[in-house]
């Protein structure tokens, strides 16, 4: 680990993103003293749950040297299909079972990606662009295209469960739902896999150099297959949480979010060439994107500028380190 005083610490993406977040909070508090409150925190955390779980999955794919754009389609497919199944066979189904169904559907769809990528060795972007379209089309054609607002009661119960709730002295309401625990669980599990298992180290190794990994005897196919199944499962989880919290199964939701998620991951320091990416960075990236999407108005920037701001952050956040590296390389010659 790099210490606070090393040069490495100050040039990392994580530090840069954290700095931007702090700067934003300072400016926001100056223009609206109410910004710095438990209410804002609970709003932002609630908005981070789905995008956070998806981002952890997307980070894993980037680390392994691939890219996945199909996870939002998987998420919405798993969520909608699980809701339809629950309503059809047992409307009183408890929520853990509904969640399990959604996660399994997500994992199964992820396995389809894994099959094409790991077993047949096709390029990841092409495969997931294809499956994005296929999964979505399949959902709308064969499973259904109607919004379902009459969800199984257990899903509503899940969304009502809170860890803490209350009213601040200023009179604004806040709540921390149990869904936050799901995000936390995903983070802990992924941290354990990435840092404590040979599987996780192999994911980094494959992303660092595929050829070297093969020569060393790492089971490249199995590792890649795992990555896509795991990402699919996470997408299934994120999807069903999205449906439960929003209290509606909308087959048109989520898709389109994939670029924001990948943007968050890239802002956090994961590189598209593979091998680099941390959970800390990813979560910071998610925090920044969520803040920009929800609180831009506080500092006086119109919400229509959202995507411009996100775009600029990506350009600066990834452009500055890349430009520095290029300069260093030019001097070395």
């Amino acid at each position: 680990m790099s210490s606070l005083f090393s040069k490495d610490f100050w040039t990392r993406n994580e530090t840069l993103v954290a700095g931007v977040i702090i700067l934003f909070c300072v400016i926001a508090t100056l223009s609206d003293p109410l910004f710095l409150s438990v209410t804002t925190l609970s709003d932002l955390l609630r908005a981070s749950i789905v995008i956070g779980i998806l981002a952890v999955g997307a980070m894993l794919v980037l680390v392994s040297g691939g890219i996945d754009v199909s996870f939002t389609a998987i998420a919405v497919f798993a969520m909608y299909a699980a809701s339809v199944i629950a309503l059809a066979i047992w409307p009183g189904m408890p929520w853990p079972l509904i969640f399990a169904i959604s996660v399994c559907i997500g994992a199964a769809l992820g396995a389809i990606n894994g099959l094409f990528i790991a077993v047949f060795g096709l390029p990841t972007l092409i495969v997931t662009l294809g499956t994005l379209s296929v999964f979505r089309g399949f959902l709308l054609t064969f499973v259904g295209s109607q919004r379902i607002s009459d969800l199984p009661p257990a899903m509503r119960d899940f969304s009502r469960g809170v860890i803490a709730r209350g009213t601040t002295e200023a009179g604004s309401f806040y709540s921390f739902p149990w869904a936050l625990a799901a995000l936390l669980a995903v983070i802990v599990l992924t941290w354990f896999i990435l840092h404590k298992t040979m599987l996780g180290r192999s994911i980094y190794a494959i992303g660092g150099s595929l050829e070297s990994a093969r020569r060393l005897g790492i089971n490249v196919k199995a590792t890649q297959f795992f990555v896509y199944v795991y990402v699919g499962a996470l997408a299934g989880l994120a999807g069903i949480i999205h449906g439960s919290v929003g209290r509606m199964a909308d087959p048109f939701s989520l898709v389109g979010l994939e670029l924001s998620v990948i943007a968050a991951v890239v802002l956090g320091g994961a590189r598209l060439i593979g091998g680099y990416g941390t959970l800390t960075g990813t979560l910071l990236g998610v925090a920044l994107i969520v803040i920009v999407q929800n609180s831009l108005i506080v500092v006086g920037i119109p919400t229509t500028w959202q995507s411009v701001t996100i775009g600029l952050l990506i350009l600066i956040g990834t452009g500055v380190p890349a430009y520095r590296a290029k300069r260093a390389a030019a001097h070395a010659g």
């Binding site: 298992t197 040979m198 190794a205 150099s209 070297s212 060393l216 005897g217 790492i218 010659g333």
Partner: protein, 499 residues
């Protein structure tokens, strides 16, 4: 078998390997004892890589017996071979740039342990033990991408040791190292030998490793043509065995006395790369520019052709100023540039040989209406390929199917077809075998005789001495010395470089 030594670690007898009608190896016997260093020499296509693939289990021999550690292996695969202690260090080292030193070293030991969990403290211990064994200083927490090349090589050696290597095969171990680093490497090799670890060097440049080797084996066209104690070989005899002919390196013929100034460079400078560069190039002269890595020689070479934009200074060819920092203008002034890394900068690898040559001449073969005259284009390209003796089965074959020497010739042919006045060659024989190298030097000398001014940027001192009339030495971005090619010696040049 005649005299199978009971002590040999690797014992290959009568190995033959055929690929679809081509015989890559023909009845080769090859032994390596414990703690012995063997030089395996041969040109591209001589069969040395095939031999290594058979020992490391990547390829199966068509005929013959393979014994490792006394055990006969009728079936060999990379896992069996690695378990027996055969470790190959490839030229690119096969490391993970994004992982730390200790993880790179310990990765394979943790893999073979069939553990599911990654044991960080165990990995650090294994790595530190391997590093201590060869007595070097390496920060095990550093990322490999941040290490210099020589240290990356050490990491690769440590990884082999951590995996209980009994034999380390090193592919081109010295190409990327400076003289000092080569010396350090040789010290480590001696240490390993004392511990009973055997080493096979596979290389074009063998002179450097001869002093730590016991034995030399030379392959040519799949046959063993020479084997003997290393003390009986020197660079010349090795070259003779590898090529099957004497390749005497001629000195360049002198420049014509009344040669005109062809190119003149005045006060060329680029912040952070080079400064105060002044020189003149006569027509028919071969000028060498040398310097260690980071001396600015590569930036200067690129700047002369406009690929790097200098901050100030001027370049004139035949008295006419050439706009600086503009490769198109340089090309119009008939300056040619053959880059060092022909694979990424110079050639279109998947395109055919003839197209690679022809691309330089598209505008000359375009009719008034803007259509290409393909026949004329192909005929001209084919003529140049013949002149430079490019060995290719078919000029329509992709360039990547050629050997390094022939690829370099294709890159040269492209520029020569444009009849340049000044030709800049950056590392003209990097990754090229001995025989082709001498041929390329012949071509360079011939070009000079025709009146072309040639600039060679290289750190291969014998190459500079064999081709150049004058040699400029660069250090920290400045020209620090100028030597006349006719009287300079390798020692003198090396001293000037290091001083």
């Amino acid at each position: 078998m005649s005299d199978v030594s009971p002590h040999a670690f690797i014992d290959l007898a009568g190995i033959t390997k055929r690929y679809a009608g081509v015989t890559a190896l023909d009845g080769v016997d090859f032994t390596v004892n414990h703690g012995e260093a063997v030089c395996l020499a041969g040109e591209n296509g001589s069969g040395k890589s095939t031999l290594i693939k058979i020992i490391s289990g990547v390829e199966q021999a068509t005929e013959g017996e393979v014994r490792i550690g006394g055990n006969l292996h009728s079936v060999l695969n990379p896992r069996i071979s690695a378990a027996a202690g055969v470790m190959v260090i490839f030229q690119d080292f096969s490391l993970f740039p994004n992982l730390t030193v200790y993880e790179n070293i310990a990765f394979s030991t943790q893999l073979t342990g069939h553990k599911r969990l990654f044991d960080r403290s165990q990995a650090r211990k294994v790595a530190q033990a391997a590093i201590d064994r060869i007595g070097v200083k390496l920060d095990i927490d550093k990322r490999v991408e941040d290490l210099p090349v020589a240290h990356k090589q050490l990491v690769a050696i440590c990884r082999a040791l951590a995996s209980k290597a009994r034999l380390i095969i090193m592919d081109e171990p010295t190409t990327a190292l400076t003289e000092k680093e080569v010396k350090a490497l040789l010290g480590i090799i001696r240490l390993l030998k004392e511990e009973g670890v055997a080493v096979i060097f596979v290389s074009h440049k063998l002179a450097e490793v001869l002093e730590v080797s016991e034995k030399v084996v030379v392959l040519r066209n799949g046959k063993k043509v020479a084997e003997g104690p290393a003390s009986e070989f020197d660079t010349q005899s090795l070259t003779r065995h590898m090529t099957g002919r004497d390749v005497p390196e001629a000195r360049p013929s002198p420049v014509i006395a009344d040669a005109k100034t062809l190119m003149s460079v005045r006060d060329l400078a680029k912040n952070g790369s080079f400064e105060n560069i002044n020189f003149e190039l006569m027509s028919g002269e071969v000028l060498g520019i040398t310097g260690l890595l980071g001396s600015g020689r590569t930036s200067l070479a690129k700047a002369l052709f406009g690929l790097v934009a200098p901050d100030k200074g001027s370049i004139t060819v035949d008295g006419n100023a050439v706009p600086i920092g503009d490769p198109v203008a340089a090309s119009h002034a008939r300056i040619g540039y053959v880059p060092e890394d022909r694979l990424t900068e110079g050639l279109f690898l998947s395109q055919s040989i003839v197209r690679n040559v022809a691309i330089g001449r598209l505008d000359e073969h375009t009719s008034a209406a803007g259509f290409l005259n393909m026949n004329g284009l192909v005929a001209e390209a084919a003529e140049w390929l013949q002149r430079l003796k490019v060995k290719a089965p078919d000029i329509e074959a992709p360039v990547q199917s050629l050997s390094g020497g022939n690829q370099q010739r294709v890159a040269l042919a492209r520029w020569l077809s444009r009849t340049p006045r000044v030709l800049i060659l950056n590392g003209p024989s990097v990754g090229v075998d001995v025989g082709s190298k001498a041929d390329i030097h012949d071509i360079i000398r011939d070009l000079a005789k025709e009146g072309i001014g040639v600039i060679i940027i290289s750190d291969d001192l014998p190459e500079l001495l064999a081709t150049c009339h004058r040699i400029l030495v660069m250090r920290d971005g400045k020209i620090t010395d100028e030597l006349a090619g006719g009287v300079a010696t390798e020692e003198k040049l090396a001293r000037s470089l290091a001083s």
